[in-house]
C-alpha cells in the first residue's frame, strides 16, 4: 500500500514494489478466493433489480413454500418460495444488499470512531490514553448483543437503527488494535525525524503513523464487517433487526425456522449464503494482512 520508492534499490533488485505486491496478491489463494466471492456478492447486490427474477415483495399465498429446483421445484422459482409465496432467489439477492450495506456502513462508522480514539491514545499517551483506555474498558464490559437488543427494543427495529447501533458498538477492537499499533511505531526514527523537522501533528499522524499501521486496520475492518453482518442476522433472527417485509438473510432464517423439520432448505439456503459471505470477508482480510504486513515486504 505504501510506496517506498527508492530508485537505487529498484535498480539493484529488479522487480518494483508494485510488481512484488502483485506477485504476493496473486500468489495468495485465500485472498483471491475471498476477494472474488465478495466481489461477486457485491456485484449481485448492486445489480439486484436487474438480476432478481421477481419482485422480492410480491406475495402469492397460493404458491407458498414451493421447493427449490434441485428438490423438485420448477424454474419459475429456482430457489423456491417462502412462507408467503415470495420468490426465494429474489429475496436472497435483495438480502445481499442489506447484509453488505450493514457490514460496510457499520464497519466504517466504528472504524472512524475506533481509529481516532486508538491513534490518539497511542500517540499522545498520558491523560488521553487513560481516558480512552477507560472508555474501551467500559465498552468491553458490555456484551454487544445484549446492548444491541436493549437499544433496538427501546427504539424499535429498522435498518437505520441497526446500522447506527452496530456502528456505535463495534469500535472497541479498532481502538485496542490501533492504540497498540500506534504505540509500536510512535517511537520509531522516522516519527522522531518528522517531529524534528517540525511537521505538524496531523501530518505526522496521517503520513507517518497511519501508513504503517493501516494493514492492521484492514484486518480489523474485515473482521468487524463480518461481525456486523452476523449480528444483524442474529438481531433479525430474533425479530429485533431489520423489519419485514425487508428481505434480510437473518430474517429469512428466522421465518423458515418453524418449518425447519420439514423444509430444511428454507433455513439452509440463507444460512449457506451468510456463511459464504462471512467466510469470504474473513479470507480476504487475512489475505490482505499477509500481503501488506511490513515484515512480508522483504
Amino acid at each position: 500500500m505504501t510506496d517506498m520508492t527508492d530508485p537505487l534499490l529498484q535498480e539493484i533488485t529488479g522487480p518494483t514494489p508494485g510488481q512484488l505486491l502483485r506477485k504476493r496478491v496473486f500468489g495468495h489463494q485465500g485472498l483471491l478466493i475471498g476477494a472474488i466471492v465478495v466481489a461477486i456478492l457485491a456485484i449481485i447486490a448492486l445489480l439486484a433489480p436487474l438480476l432478481a427474477p421477481h419482485d422480492p415483495y410480491a406475495q402469492s399465498l397460493m404458491d407458498r413454500m414451493q421447493p427449490p429446483v434441485f428438490l423438485g421445484g420448477t424454474w419459475e422459482h429456482p430457489l423456491g418460495t417462502d412462507h408467503l409465496g415470495r420468490d426465494y432467489l429474489s429475496r436472497l439477492i435483495y438480502g445481499a444488499r442489506v447484509s453488505l450495506m450493514i457490514g460496510v456502513i457499520a464497519a466504517v462508522i466504528s472504524g472512524v470512531i475506533g481509529t481516532a480514539m486508538g491513534v490518539a491514545a497511542g500517540y499522545f499517551g498520558g491523560k488521553v490514553d487513560a481516558v480512552v483506555t477507560f472508555l474501551i474498558n467500559v465498552r468491553l464490559a458490555m456484551p454487544v448483543v445484549l446492548v444491541a437488543l436493549a437499544v433496538v427494543a427501546i427504539l424499535g427495529g429498522s435498518l437505520t437503527v441497526v446500522i447506527v447501533v452496530l456502528g456505535l458498538l463495534l469500535w472497541d477492537r479498532f481502538a485496542v488494535v490501533m492504540r497498540a499499533s500506534t504505540l509500536q511505531v510512535r517511537r520509531r526514527e522516522y516519527v522522531a525525524a518528522a517531529q524534528a523537522i517540525g511537521a505538524s501533528t496531523p501530518r505526522i499522524l496521517l503520513t507517518e503513523i497511519m501508513p504503517n499501521i493501516v494493514n492492521n486496520l484492514i484486518v480489523v475492518v474485515t473482521l468487524e464487517m463480518a461481525h456486523a453482518i452476523l449480528l444483524e442476522a442474529a438481531l433479525s433472527f430474533l425479530g429485533l433487526g431489520v423489519q419485514p417485509p425487508t428481505p434480510s438473510w437473518g430474517l429469512m432464517v428466522s421465518e423458515g425456522k418453524n418449518m425447519m423439520l420439514f423444509e430444511p432448505w428454507l433455513v439452509l439456503i440463507p444460512g449457506a449464503v451468510l456463511f459464504l459471505l462471512v467466510l469470504a470477508i474473513n479470507l480476504m482480510g487475512d489475505g490482505l494482512r499477509d500481503v501488506t504486513a511490513p515484515e512480508n515486504r522483504n
Binding site: 399465498l61 412462507h83 425479530g239 417485509p245 418453524n258 423439520l261 420439514f262
Partner: protein
Amino acid sequence: MKKLSLTTAITAVAFATAGLPALADKAEDKLNVAFTKELENVDSYFNSSREGVVLQRAVWDGLIYRDPVTNEYKGNLATSWEWIDDTTLEFKLREGVTFHNGEAFNADDVVFTVNFVADEANGVKTQRNVNWMKSAEKIDDYTVRIHLKDKFPAAIEFLSGPVSMYPNEYYAEAGASGMGLKPVGTGPYKVVSVVPGQHFVLEKNENYHDSPKGQPTIKTIDIRTVPDVNTQIAELFSGTLDLIWQVPADQSEKLKSMDQFTVANESTMRVGYITMDAAGRSSMDPNPFQDLRVRRAINHAIDRQAIVDSLLKGSSKVINTPCFPSQFGCVQDVTSYEYDPEKAKALLAEAGYPDGFTTEFYAYRNRDYAEALASYLNAVGIKTDFKMLQYSALRELNMKGEVPLAFLTWGSYSINDASAMVSQFFKHGSLDDTRDDEVLEYLNIADSATDPDVRIENYGKALKRITDQAFWAPLFSYNTNYVFKTSVNYSPTPDEVLRFTTMTWN
C-alpha cells in the same frame, strides 16, 4: 445463532431416534403433554393464559358447567339455580363433595371465593371475569345467593367458565402464591407436583363427584413447557411427548401425512382483526383513520379468504363481525367488504391519499399473518412501518392510544356471549380505538337487558354501526391443531380447552 444450532442438534437426534419404538407410556398410564407458554401462576385467578384455563378446568370446578358440544348448562358444584330477581342468583349446592385435601365443599367455600375474587383490592388478573359480582351470602350450608352489582345476563356463562370454587380454609392460609405452588380444588385431576412455569404433574382424582365433566380415566398427566414447536415435534417423534396442541397449520399438514399421529382440527373463538385509530388518539397528523373511506379501503385491501385458505387452513373462517359467530348476540347480518384492491385504491384517492400514506403497523402474534396483511396494505399504497411487540407491551401502548393500526386477536376467554368481545372493546374503555357514542348506547342497553330479544336487537344495531363505519377490519377465526399419537383417543372441543377427562387410551 446459538439457539439455532441447538435446535438443529435436537432435530438431528430426534430424527435419529424416530425409528425406535416409542416409550410405553400407555403401559404406565401416563400422558405427556406440552405447553408452549410458561404459565405464570397455576392459580387461575392470577393468570390470563390459555394454559391457565386448561389447568383450571382440570383442577377446579365451577358451580355450573356448559357442555362444550350442546352448549347446554348443567349443574356441577351446584345442582340447581334460579334468578330471585334481576341481580340475585340462588344456588343449591351439591352435597358430599370434597376438595383434594379432604376439606368438605359447602356454602362457606362459595361465599369465601366470591367475596374474595369480587373484591378488586385482591387483584384478580382479569377483572372482567369477576367484577360483575358484588358479594355472596350463605342461606344455609348448601344454599348460597350471589348478588350482582348490576343486571348481567351473561352471569351463567361466566359461572360456568372462569369462576371456579376455592377451598376457604386452605386458601385463607395459603393465599394465591400457595395456591399456585400447591393447588387444591374439587376437579377431576389433582396436582401432585408444580415446578412454576415448567412442569406440572396431575393425577386422577379417584373420589371425583358425579360431575357433567365425566370421570377421568388416564392416571397421570405430565405437562411440560416446551416453547419451541420444532422441539415439540421432535419430542413427539422420539416418544417423550404424546400430545401437542396449537400446532401451526403447515406442520400439522406434514404430520398428518404420517400414520403414527392423529391430527384433529377444531375452530376456536379467537378472532383476528385489524384495529384502526378512528378516534384519532395517536400522534399521526393528519390521521387518515378518522376518514371512513380510508377505513373502508383497508377492509377492501385484504384478501381474507386467501389468508384463511393458505395460512390458517383447517376450520378457520372469514369473519365479518367484531365477535365470533357462535356467540350469543353476534348477529351476522352486517356490512361486509369483499377483496377489491382497485376499490381500495380508489377510496384512498378519494380520501386525498392517491399515493397512499405511511403508518406504523403493530402486531404481537402470528408474524406470518401480520406480514401477509402488511403486504396486502402495501399493495394498495399504504406503507407500513412494521413493529412486532410482546402482547403486554402492545396492550399498554394501545391503552395509551398510541397505536394507529394493529393486527390483534381476541379469544373472549371462550365465553359464548358477544359481550365478551364487542363490549370489551367498544365501550369507551382504554382499549377502545373508536369511541363511538352510538355504539356505546346500543351496547349499554344490550349488556344490561335481561330479555334475550332486546339483547340481540341491540347487539345487532351496534354490530351494524361498527361494520358500516368500518371501525375494525374483522379478519378470520382461528383454529387449533391437536396432534397426538394414535394410541390416544381424544375429540377436541371448539372452546380451545384441553379436557383431560375425555382423553382415553385406544
